[in-house]
Symmetry: C2
Subunit: 126 residues, 2 copies
């Protein structure tokens, strides 16, 4: 098999993309965009046991997408966006996309919400 294909099969990309494949884990990453959080607080908005969230966090940590640091009883979770970089490089290699900025990201989120979220009555800030 040609060598570039081996690179595409690299394990680290594997763990990153597999981690991103689960919607709960992507939601967790989005939450951590705003601030570091304790495991309990990460779990809070989800309709799922703490143990399940704990497992998701292990998967994210193994992929390098977050780090966890215990201070006292509390284990703090921190987003590590650098781990996304190699995956991003891989993806952009395909499309030669133009660079994307935060504006694009926010517009993207807004568009997604417009499609999805019809219980969002009002509260639209521009």
């Amino acid at each position: 098999m040609p060598r570039a294909y081996l690179a595409a099969m690299k394990a680290s990309l594997d763990t990153v993309f597999a981690a991103l494949g689960d919607p709960t884990r992507r939601a967790i990453l989005s939450m951590l965009l705003e601030d570091d959080m304790a495991v309990t607080d990460v779990a809070d908005p989800f309709d799922m046991s703490l143990a399940a969230i704990s497992k998701h966090l292990v998967i994210l940590a193994n992929a390098g997408l977050i780090t966890q640091e215990k201070r006292g009883r509390v284990k703090w979770c921190k987003l590590e966006p650098d781990a996304l970089k190699q995956a991003s490089v891989w993806m952009q290699g395909f499309g030669q996309f133009e660079p994307v900025n935060l504006d694009d990201f926010e517009r993207f989120l807004a568009a997604e919400l417009g499609e999805n979220d019809d219980d969002d009555a009002g509260g639209d800030d521009g």
Copy 2:
């Protein structure tokens, strides 16, 4: 749950990232970077049945990452890099990465091969 998290859970992102989570499927995408291919030819380098590859192709097509067009007996598979774009936007929203160009991509592939592939004697350029 805050609205941005819902966006992070969007189904289309889900299918794209889940599709990318499998190393065989990423390898297929890499192969299609070079040229459109028939299903049989896609399957050829893999140590796996044609039926298995056929299923992978369905997953890639459902994620919008490829399209398939039947001409005669042959079903041609074509890379659709645009589907990667929204995933790329999502990822870049996290890191505010600098734009990446094809050079970066190739350097990335080279570095991966350096780590992995020790039958690669020489060819190390800084």
